[in-house]
Symmetry: C2
Subunit: 575 residues, 2 copies
């Protein structure tokens, strides 16, 4: 493609709204274009890279025997009512009505649709296993769309669904997808880590997130360098402190004026924070967003509460809980802001972290302004409605597998694989007949890749201060031939010959034939990040051009022949 | 692909809801799957054919220098308000709100979005001409979705928009697209006709529809075999009857009891229908669907009213007009059901066909029960608010170009090209700076291809009583190798070798290795319509197989080598 003919609008300035490199660079290169908050379009270069990612995914999915289909984005509410998600899903589910007032949504995922296919088209065990996938536009009406393609409201996703006869066969399907995902992200040039993940709103028993490591990512992962443990911090297990053998001392109420934080009370009473416990107070909501109860959660004073573990323990969706208004909650439950403890609180669900019952003589709020209690003991002084691991695994905490101190890293969730089991087949009645002609539930898995988010992740990991540095596999073009001085006949002729010969060899090549100053062309080439650059300048008169890789600082002088051959060779190796 | 591994659910029965061949066969082959009325998904074979059509379109668009982009399906109302279409578009525009109550629609077309791109990214004449396109999911909330992919609510469309400096350059862009469209539909194997078309709701000055000829099509076209005239009947001009030189006779009211139709009154008064005129009565609506006026349209008694010509004459959208309640309208305007004429009617817009003023002494309703008037003459007895060609060009009417009798045919509109001119650039302020740094309006064209509808049109034109007969170019697979007796080692081995060698040669091939009776396999192969079939049966023991084209009745016995070579050769020629 000749740049003089291509629609290309690069920006010198950093767009105001953009904070992270991928958002800034995808806007500055004109590869994406914002329509409204969280809704982006792809311009010519951007869409080329999207299609390359799609093609890599397609190849790796097909290699595992998965079959591509294409379902509608619009989905009828009825199917979502069958699965129960119509009411459970929060306002991220973008709902609409048709002209007859019938309810629909714009699909954020397609479990219901694919389960519906299988329950009506699969009868026999002979038709299983089956893996169907699509690469398609998805919707999530985010409260705070942000970071460009990272969290947008309309996005492209590959979603696959596997259907097996047994859980053992699901394990195999899951492994196949896990393997395909490793290949996809490796081919896209990403540095990533598969980590154990929470199963969230989709449900099911087992899940891994594929996380592209990045400071700006929204996922926080905990990993161990000693063993292979890696999990989202939401999911990561935390080892309970060992149970104490101390004798239980008598409960005692002490005056602790103004000590509203654990820090304060520990200092005031000269206690270690591990000898205290803290309370977190919540209100919960029903499906119609009416308040339907209070929750008090307790963890050791030095711990942090993991909200995902809490909602899982309560078996409610994330959007059905919020911090309580302490005054209002106090009137009904006896809690007192900053001085709440498990003794004396009432009319709320008490959720206690799993290590607290084993610990003795802790200090806790007394449910009385400016007072705490000493020697609070589980069983004798308070009881839980639910006991569960509620702790966030912090950096330096012992690894739940081997005990070594864990590390934390941030990353971008580019893919996720789930074992759904029979959640959807049970809800929607997807059965197959086994060898004995008996009905059995189909066992499902689901597997997503954020195509547009993967593009952003690649840019996060591959850029410098001058622009993007595309890996060959997903670069919009492999090479760019820059005419330093448009108007110079020798340079133009040489560049044209290189351009034509590269095209002939199947290299995707841009010819920068614009009547612009060389500085502008070089800056644009850096910004766009095309992997190979051939610069045709004065040396062309002697048959010499410059060959440069975007990722390297150095340029090399080469003969035209040599530059062409080197380009073809590099493209073949890396694409 | 091995059929034993492919998800394939063919139906022996004709689905109840399906009336036309493409709908029946696409459902029976399991290529498409209905989700709800007007919403279909594509299963593995169906989506392969869709992607082939997309690829043909992409190649022909790229060959004309058009550049592919990908914009969102969700569009903010604000842009549609700028163009004025938010209120003009009827309930087919599928509207929705986001969680903040902001108005959006699911785009049926993208004029606003693409105009918005150009007004913000194109500044200079140097950036023009420009042609941007996308292949993308579109929405139209049809009142009566029908015929499967022919008229659905979610569908795939290629839409392109050209941007030029002048109307002359638009002519060139339009020709390029016209040419590309001829190539696309030819490559898809369609018999089609480009016909002059009405510009409808999109607006603009000049348009052609690409119509795949088919009895079941919803477009009616008029064409002339003597000259090259071809137009939709909606658009086709009608030649006025020559003006009469008769002297005007005195107006006379006559008693014509019970003669409510033209037929009746012509018989009763012994007149030719061409000596009468008929009235058609309508009510119109404003943007909020409130009634805002009445319309009486008059054409010669033997003519039919062309609704599109009427709404164009009134300059209102199609959905803003409906037949009037005659009793209600009579009270306000003096019309009388079955006896309405232009004399005496009041308080309504009178639209008169262009030939009526030239005709003398016509018979018309007297606006009085059981009475007509004789010798009604334009000017003397009645006047029009609007005079326009309102006539439908009927089969046998003289061709508006050469006068020979026109023919009618039905067809499926698979593509349309429009000259939009400056309609959108004016409404939305899309200017470029010309050589003198002066602002000029960008001149636009738009060009659509219904991708999913094209698939249906191909099936309408290529099928027999046993199933689909795919043209090679859009067939889901090129060839199918059928093992007559699965379990026979020689047959299996021979088939496997053919399969592997065809795969190696780049042929897209299915291997029917299912444990089914040969009859089932042959029936399925006919139904699926794969162009080339190689049947491996008893002859395999002697190295002989059968080679058959789906479109031919005959099979040929060939050596395995020969069948492989013939297959490769045929695929290369036809794909």
């Amino acid at each position: 493609m000749r740049l003089s003919k291509m629609h290309l609008k690069t920006l010198r300035e950093v767009p105001n709204e953009a904070e992270i490199a991928s958002h800034i660079l995808l806007l500055r290169t004109g590869m994406i274009r914002k329509l409204v908050s969280g809704v982006y379009g792809f311009m010519p270069l951007g869409y080329r890279s999207i299609r390359k990612i799609e093609e890599i995914i397609r190849q790796e999915m097909d290699a595992k025997g998965a079959q591509e289909i294409h379902m509608s984005a619009v989905q009828p509410a009825e199917l979502w009512m069958e699965s129960g998600r119509w009411f459970k899903y929060g306002p991220e589910l973008w709902r609409l009505k048709d002209r007859n007032g019938r309810d629909f949504c714009l699909g954020p995922t397609h479990e219901e649709i694919f389960t519906d296919i299988v329950r009506s088209e699969v009868n026999s065990y002979r038709q299983l296993p089956l893996n169907l996938y699509q690469i398609q536009t998805k919707y999530r009406d985010e409260a705070r769309p942000r970071f460009g393609l990272m969290r947008s409201r309309e996005f492209i996703m590959k979603d696959a669904y596997s259907f097996d006869k047994t859980f053992e066969e699901l394990d195999k399907s899951y492994e196949d997808m896990y393997d395909a995902y490793e290949r996809v992200f490796t081919r896209c040039g990403l540095t990533f880590r598969p980590v154990e993940a929470d199963t969230g709103a989709i449900g099911g028993s087992n899940s891994h997130e594929f996380t592209a490591l990045s400071e700006v990512g929204e996922s926080e992962i905990a990993y161990c360098e000693t063993c292979s443990m890696a999990a989202t911090t939401e999911k990561a297990l935390c080892i309970d402190a060992p149970a104490s053998n101390e004798a239980e001392l008598p409960l005692e109420t002490v005056h602790t004026p103004g000590t509203k934080t654990i820090e304060d009370v520990a200092n005031f009473l000269e206690l270690d924070k591990t000898q205290t416990m803290k309370a977190l107070l919540f209100v919960t909501y029903d499906d119609e967003q009416n308040e339907n109860g209070y929750v008090a959660a307790f963890v050791r004073g030095d711990r942090e509460l993991n909200m995902i573990k809490l909602v899982n323990a309560l078996n409610i969706p994330e959007h059905a809980i919020a911090f309580a208004d302490e005054a209002k909650m106090g009137a009904e439950t006896g809690c007192v802001g900053g001085f709440t403890g498990p003794v004396g609180i009432h009319d709320c669900t008490i959720v206690v972290d799993s290590e607290l019952p084993g610990l003795k003589n802790l200090c806790a709020g007394a449910c009385k302004e400016d007072h705490h209690m000493l020697h609070v003991n589980y069983g004798r002084d308070y009881k839980a409605d639910i006991i569960a691991d509620l702790k966030l695994l912090k950096e330096g905490d012992p690894c739940p597998v081997c005990g070594a101190p864990v590390k934390h890293a941030r990353g971008i969730e580019v893919g996720q694989v789930f074992k759904l089991g029979t959640k959807y087949s049970e809800a929607m009645g997807a059965y197959y007949k086994d060898e004995n002609m008996e009905d059995q539930l189909v066992v499902m898995g689901c597997y997503g890749i954020g195509v547009t988010r993967t593009l952003a992740a690649v840019v996060e990991q591959h850029h410098d201060e001058n622009g993007i540095i595309w890996p060959m596999s997903v670069a919009p073009y492999h090479a760019i031939v820059t005419i330093v001085n448009t108007g110079d006949e020798v340079q133009e002729k040489t560049a044209e010959e290189i351009y034509q010969r590269l095209l002939g060899a199947g290299v995707e090549v841009l010819l920068d034939d614009r009547k612009e100053r060389p500085g502008v062309k070089f800056k644009d080439a850096d910004l766009l990040g095309i992997p190979i650059r051939i610069i045709v300048g004065r040396g062309a008169a002697d048959g010499i051009v410059e060959y440069k890789l975007r990722r390297d600082a150095d340029k090399e002088e080469r003969s035209m022949e040599d530059a062409i051959n080197k380009t073809i060779q590099t493209v073949m190796q890396e694409k």
